[in-house]
């Protein structure tokens, strides 16, 4: 039991109801603490995105949540059972309590609207009481916070670099001061220098505003650096979860070890990666995977 839990996922399962059915998420239980950065690692097809979508009920048929519960422990004391919310409650819940930065988010902006307009939409929808001036002010503030700057409010997406667009998406996800932000590969398409800046910013903002983050990526070295805890997923199940450092130093599950071994160390020893390995000249361990 985490001291101050924000999200409790219990025995959560999702099946893609196709022929034959695919069990994308199997019996996943997870507790996320308030203010925690949880890394969710795994390769394509392991179910990490399905889990993240499922938590917010963003899945569409043929995906079916077959079992489990997701309880959100709101800061004002209420426990919200996400699966029990009706359509309107769900709409209010999303983005307000839990927001998401989608995979390839930098291409998710509307190309024909200035980014200020798009940020403004968040407030018109969720905070109908705000005046126009308040909204404009808040949008500007958000762009300042993520380092894009309020003078870009009138810019169109194509006038911004990929890194800046990604920051705009993060600003949008932060707009309503959610308690949880789910980020699905938020920096995968970016250069390392930009990636580093954005990660530092997320880290600093999390410290300042106290939100939790579920950070999804296949890039384990990156997760190790930014996460408090890491969950490793394979075939729809969490095979290992633990503090970043202990997972790195003392991985328990064979798959975690294999995943760690897939990343040659930048400055350390060669490790598993022997150049031109005379040894098992790649007896293609991937043949079964796909």
């Amino acid at each position: 039991m985490t001291p101050d839990p924000l999200l409790t996922i219990e025995r959560f399962s999702v099946v893609y109801d196709v022929e034959p059915p695919v069990e994308a998420v199997r019996d996943v239980s997870l507790e996320l603490a308030r203010g925690e950065i949880l890394g969710l690692a795994g390769e394509s097809g392991c179910g990490k995105t399905t889990l993240a979508y499922g938590v917010q009920r963003l899945l569409k048929p043929p995906a079916v949540i077959t079992s489990g519960s997701v309880v959100f422990h709101d800061a004002d004391g209420d426990d919200v059972e996400v699966n029990a919310l009706d359509e309107d409650q769900m709409r209010a819940f999303r983005w307000d309590k839990v927001s998401m930065v989608f995979q390839g988010a930098m291409n998710a902006l509307n190309p024909v609207l200035a980014i200020g307009r798009q940020l403004d939409d968040v407030f018109t929808t969720h905070r109908p009481g705000m005046s126009k001036a308040e909204r404009r002010d808040e949008c500007g503030r958000l762009l300042d916070v993520v380092g894009v700057g309020r003078d870009r409010l009138r810019s169109y997406p194509h006038e911004l670099s990929g890194g800046m667009r990604q920051r705009v998406m993060i600003a949008m996800a932060m707009a309503l001061r959610p308690q949880l932000m789910i980020m699905d590969e938020p920096t995968t398409a970016l250069d390392v220098l930009v990636q580093r800046e954005i990660l530092q910013q997320i880290s600093a903002l999390r410290h300042e505003l106290g939100f939790s983050v579920i950070f999804i990526t296949h890039d384990l070295p990156l997760l190790l650096e930014i996460s408090d805890r890491i969950a490793v997923m394979k075939d729809g199940q969490i095979v290992e979860i633990g503090a970043a450092e202990s997972l790195y130093r003392d991985p328990q599950h064979a798959y975690t070890k294999r995943l760690l071994g897939s990343f040659p160390s930048l400055t350390g020893e060669r490790g598993d990666f022997v150049r031109g390995a005379e040894a098992p000249a790649s007896a293609t361990p991937e043949e079964d995977a796909s």
């Binding site: 390769e43 070295p221 650096e225 930048l266 350390g268 598993d272 991937e286 796909s290």
Partner: protein, 272 residues
């Protein structure tokens, strides 16, 4: 011994409305058979422009590209001959294979076009190519690309590049589209093939860690200029140029991150 020489190559792209964009500024290097050079840099640094000029998909604005001292022919049989000797492996194995054709067709076609082996030997050669990239020839030869995994597809793409028995291979981000746990397998395969056939390999990547382990030398490209070049370990462990240092420091490195008492723990320094 094959030598490919890039000599003072400059490439400008004309950008409408804002004059010329200098993609490569006086770049020189040599790639010889048996050698692996990694070319690293951020997007927009000019990495792919170099690959395009090497394969003559683009022409240099000024400067020369020489193969064994001879300028690359711009067209005709000469260019064709050049492209047999210098082959390219692309980033995306999902896009670089034709979904309509079987794996056999993908490999038989270059063999027939380039007349690498006599007609009646093509089937044998296709099978031997598949075996060289550690694929089960019987299980793959009649398949179509969508029936294979990403790693298998990239192996087919590598086999296709090897079909014309090239001396040099240009690999443009050959593993970045693949799942992480199979990347090293494909890189190790490239390394094995490189030694077996004494290939020269230009490994284009943005990943410093694999660049370090996979190549003899690293070249760092920044805004179209080679800012640093040297033996792989030196460039990463002891970078001379500030840009190389910045790149290195921005790359995730758990070893360093967890070393010492939270010392350099930059992004997690706020972990309470």
């Amino acid at each position: 011994m094959t030598t490919l020489e890039f000599k003072g190559v400059t490439k400008r792209y004309h950008v409408r409305g804002s004059g010329d964009m200098l993609a490569l500024d006086d770049v020189s290097f040599t790639l010889t058979s048996g050698q692996t050079i990694a070319l690293v840099g951020q997007s927009g640094s000019g990495k792919s422009t170099i690959a395009k000029i090497l394969t003559q998909l683009e022409r240099a604005t000024s400067g020369e590209v020489l193969l064994d001292g001879q300028p690359i022919p711009h067209r005709g049989p000469g260019l064709r001959r050049y492209r047999q000797r210098v082959r390219m492996v692309f980033q995306d194995p999902f896009a670089s294979l034709n979904p309509y054709h079987t794996i056999r067709h993908h490999l038989a076609r270059p063999l027939a076009l380039d007349k690498v082996v006599p007609k009646d030997k093509i089937e044998d050669e296709v099978r031997s190519l598949l075996t060289r990239v550690r694929l089960d020839a019987d299980a793959t030869i009649d398949r179509r690309p969508h029936e294979l995994s990403g790693g298998q597809r990239q192996r087919v793409a590598i086999a296709r590049a090897l079909a014309s028995r090239p001396e040099l291979l240009i690999a443009d981000e050959p593993v970045s589209m693949l799942d992480v746990s199979i990347r090293l397998g494909v890189l190790n395969l490239l390394a094995d093939l490189q030694r077996e056939s004494n290939l020269g390999v230009l490994y284009i990547t943005h990943d410093l860690a694999t660049a370090r382990h996979f190549s003899d030398e690293i070249m760092v490209l920044h805004h179209g200029v080679v800012v640093e070049r040297g033996p792989a370990d030196d460039v990463i462990l002891n970078p001379q140029h500030e840009y190389t240092r910045a790149l290195r420091d921005a790359s995730p490195d758990p070893d360093k991150h967890f070393a010492g008492p939270a010392g350099e723990a930059t992004t997690r320094s706020d972990a309470s």
